[in-house]
């Protein structure tokens, strides 16, 4: 998140995502096929303030109470399956990175389009336990357990996706393109 990040009317912060920043945080570890109903149960809790108090409680009731800014969410395969809903609430409660074995395609598209730091690192669940400290070094393409030193590779994004992240998301990317094409 850039220092000039601003808040919109829905209480969602915006700003470009700097993939070159090395991230380090305490791990919250989840299992396979965590669905967007659990991440973003907006039908039950329509405002961001309510969502922040209930995200992920279907799997870990203590999560919304105990998560701290700077924490990292680690998950198994197929993270974010189900409906096409963004995981903005995870960023709002302070999660600085999501690292999963694999990510369901619509959750991945949503995370790219909203510039939410998400990383696919097959093998991640084998090298880190709940509560340990994880380091995500995107430029080096490595995720590392700080205590044990165990590390694995993460998947780099293609240049177009990195550009969308740097723009702060796809709507912002679209705005820049529209401005270029209409003010020429």
């Amino acid at each position: 998140m850039s220092p000039d990040a601003k808040q919109n009317s829905l209480g969602v912060r915006q700003g470009s995502l700097d993939l070159n920043r090395v991230l380090r945080g305490r791990v919250w570890k989840f299992g396979d096929s965590i669905e967007t109903d659990a991440i973003n149960p907006y039908y039950r809790y329509p405002t961001m303030e309510e969502l922040k108090q209930h995200t992920m409680e279907a799997y870990r009731p203590e999560f919304p109470k105990e998560v701290k800014p700077g924490d990292i969410l680690v998950a198994g395969r197929n993270f974010g399956c189900g409906s096409s809903r963004p995981g903005l609430v995870l960023r709002e409660v302070g999660i600085v990175a999501i690292v999963a074995e694999s990510v369901a395609r619509l959750f991945l598209r949503n995370s790219i389009a909203r510039a939410i730091p998400i990383f696919m690192a097959p093998g991640i669940t084998n090298i880190v336990n709940d509560g340990e400290t994880l380091e995500v070094d995107y430029p080096a393409g490595i995720v590392r357990n700080v205590a044990t030193g165990a590390s694995i590779e993460l998947r780099k994004f293609p240049p177009l996706i990195e550009e969308i992240f740097a723009s702060g998301g796809l709507p912002e990317f679209a705005y820049q393109r529209y401005q270029r094409e209409t003010t020429r």
């Binding site: 919109n8 009317s9 829905l10 969602v12 915006q14 096929s33 669905e35 109903d37 659990a38 149960p41 907006y42 039908y43 039950r44 329509p46 279907a58 395969r77 197929n78 399956c81 189900g82 409906s83 096409s84 963004p86 694999s102 369901a104 395609r105 619509l106 598209r109 949503n110 389009a113 909203r114 293609p158 177009l160 996706i161 998301g169 796809l170 709507p171 912002e172 990317f173 679209a174 705005y175 393109r177 529209y178 401005q179």
Partner: protein, 426 residues
């Protein structure tokens, strides 16, 4: 060229005109966009956040944008009414020509009812079940709200061409809809992401006899097994379905001999048992016999997976001259107004009402949920899309997914039962 359907689809729609292969990233030209304008973060607000002070400045093609008010129809609160009013103003301001305003129904079914997608087209929607358009040999795929903003402005979007998986369904025709059992069985056997990021191509001896209703169930559930596309071959069934609904030209799409598949799965449907997905995941599947006897308080048939004529028709056949078990709420929601009318004309609604079922207005409401909530400790068997914890209200309720025959049988028995015990399965 040895191309899969996905490779052909994206080559045909590549802005650069170049042929693409699985794994390639491209920017694709979009043929149609099904838009949910509403929900907790309206499209208008997203546009304003991005910098468009007055909201979206345009849509790229007024005839290729389809706005349907399916999730909020009829409205259940003033908040929803206010949102719908905003959408009406936006549709008028942007000059969008295809707007289904006062007609309840699920967007995806209405897209089919009115022939708004055709074979070989690339049609996106900001709803995960847009993948159901593959039933009509259309390249239908779900995108996100933010993706949709980009599509509305430019009629283009980035994609990665998926690898493909061939799913071969062999077997004889049935006297009941078998599609739901097939996809649940596959999810149980191969995992709920066995088609993760892949393009499913359906084929096999069962396919020519599968109705469009059944194909839409299988394609819709592509997303429950992770797929990007879930495409059926174009055949006489597709042609006949579309002949009544569109006069626009189209070019169907088929894979070349020698195309590369990451995986091939062959299912002998004749040896497959009736199955259910137990709480709380789509892939938590077991034969129905393993949970037989489990009492239920609610049964549902509806949604973009199972709210079609054949799903409701089988319920009427099971319940004809019989009664829904005491203490069971049996909700049936046709997928669209057109489907509802078809059911009325066929006499199904009379049969179902006489049996004690409740017919709910067409739309997404029984799945999302808007109606038919569960209380703590209750159990529901449902032919809808998902069984996640809390999906129908209480976090302490159990949701079982099953085919419409199994659901109707349970509604009759008051507990989960093998349909063979109440229906002459053939």
């Amino acid at each position: 060229m040895n191309q899969t359907i996905a490779e052909k689809l994206f080559s045909r729609h590549n802005l650069t005109g170049k042929q693409v292969r699985a794994g390639d990233i491209l920017e694709a030209r979009i043929d149609g966009a099904m838009v949910h304008y509403h929900a907790n973060e309206p499209m208008h607000d997203l546009a304003v956040q991005a910098g468009f002070k007055d909201g979206l400045p345009r849509v790229w093609d007024r005839d290729r944008v389809f706005v349907l008010l399916d999730h909020h129809q009829p409205t259940l609160s003033q908040k929803q009414a206010d949102e719908n009013a905003l959408i009406r103003r936006e549709v008028e301001r942007l000059g969008i020509r295809c707007f289904h305003d006062s007609e309840p129904g699920i967007a995806h079914q209405m897209m089919a009812d009115y022939g708004l997608m055709r074979p070989g087209e690339l049609v996106v929607g900001n709803d995960s079940h847009t993948i159901s358009y593959g039933a009509l040999n259309t390249g239908g795929t779900g995108i996100t709200r933010a993706d949709m903003l980009y599509v509305l402005l430019f009629g283009e979007l980035w994609f990665q061409v998926p690898q493909s998986i061939k799913v071969v369904l062999n077997g004889r025709q049935r006297n009941y809809p078998v599609a739901k059992d097939i996809i649940l069985y596959l999810a149980g056997k191969y995992g709920d992401d066995f088609a993760g990021n892949l393009s499913i191509e359906y084929s096999g001896t069962l396919v020519p006899g599968l109705s469009i209703d059944s194909r839409m169930c299988l394609s819709a559930h592509g997303v429950e097994v992770g797929a990007k596309l879930a495409v059926f071959p174009f055949d006489e069934t597709t042609r006949a379905f579309l002949a009544k609904r569109t006069d626009r030209a189209y070019e169907s799409i088929a894979a070349d001999a020698g195309a590369h598949y990451e995986r091939e799965i062959v299912l002998d449907v004749d040896t497959m048992p009736f199955v259910v997905a137990k709480p709380h995941q789509f892939g938590n599947v077991s034969p129905v016999d393993e949970v037989a006897g489990r009492p239920i308080q609610q049964a549902i048939i509806g949604s973009c997976a199972n709210g079609r004529f054949e799903d409701i028709e089988i319920a009427a056949r099971v319940l004809k001259g019989r009664k829904v078990a005491k203490g069971v709420r049996f909700l049936i929601s046709p997928a669209s107004q057109q489907v509802y009318l078809q059911c009325v004309k066929a006499g199904l609604v009379e049969t179902l009402l006489e049996a004690g079922a409740q017919v709910v207005t067409p739309g997404c409401g029984v799945c999302q949920p808007k109606v038919g909530f569960l209380s703590d400790g209750e159990a529901c068997i449902t032919a809808t899309t998902r069984n996640f914890k809390g999906r129908k209200g209480s976090m302490k309720a159990d949701i079982y997914l099953a085919g419409p025959l199994t659901v109707a049988a349970a509604a009759l028995a008051g507990s989960i039962v093998n349909p063979k015990e109440v229906f002459d399965v053939a």
